[in-house]
């Protein structure tokens, strides 16, 4: 029996945030950017993503956050490793721009999703900090 496995899109960045590797689901969007600075190709993305990339690079810890960009809300994980920073993302919702009613409803959903994910991620960070304080229990 054949089993379809959905690979997560990811991008690996070097220390200068240049694209050095992409997974095949991410190839169409960012594959052509290999060797280039990722954020240069997405105007407006620097203030939204750079602080998290810098945090992951500085702390060498996994950084997770939710962000709105280009009509989508996504949860993004940055995993520091030997090859550089691996960015993994999952789209949580997409704006419907066909009609004003659709836009308003989907925007409400997007903002609620963003808030809920940020809260959940914040709780996760607090929990893992508490585990460290309590000696890894």
């Amino acid at each position: 029996m054949a089993v379809a496995v959905e690979a997560a899109p990811y991008v690996v960045l070097d220390d200068e945030y240049r694209v050095v590797e992409t997974s095949w689901p991410a190839d169409a969007a960012v594959g052509p950017l290999r060797g280039q600075h990722l954020l240069d190709f997405f105007p407006g993305s620097r203030p939204l993503f750079l602080p998290y990339l810098e945090e992951a690079q500085r702390t060498r810890r996994i950084v997770k956050f939710a962000q709105y960009f280009e009509g989508h809300v996504a949860e993004i994980g940055i995993f520091p490793g030997a090859r550089g920073l691996t960015l993994v993302w999952e789209r949580l919702c997409t704006l419907d721009v066909m009609t004003m009613d659709g836009l308003r409803a989907s925007l409400r959903d997007a903002l609620e999703t963003l808030r809920a994910r940020e809260d959940a991620l914040h709780r996760e960070v607090v929990r893992s900090s508490l585990r460290v304080v309590e000696g890894g229990r």
């Binding site: 939204l48 280009e70 721009v97």
Partner: protein
Amino acid sequence: MSGLGFLLDRADTIVQVDAESRAAVAPFLGHPLWTFLPEARPLLGPVLDEARRVDGEVESTIFYAGWSVDVRVVPVGACLAVRLERRTELELRTLETLAESLRSIEAELAAREHVRHDRRAPASPQALP
């Protein structure tokens, strides 16, 4: 759809296309407008209905597929000549650009609505003593 012109019959079927709109619209010749512009019926339908009812030119601005779109409908015999012009694009990049462009678009829609009400006012029942 930057600027499109076409002719609709009584059933809102596209029966003729402007020369400059041919590339985009020609494949939909003979098909209902709503096949070419999905989900547009609640937005454009009332404008078409009004042009038929008053048997005169009607202008409006709608939000459709990420743009504010100026609509001009003129009855031509049994048909309606429709002209659509894209005006302002919803800028999706960040929440700030989205909010700013949405404010501009809502202002355009409100301004057009204001003009439409002003035009109708003298003939409307509310204007009567």
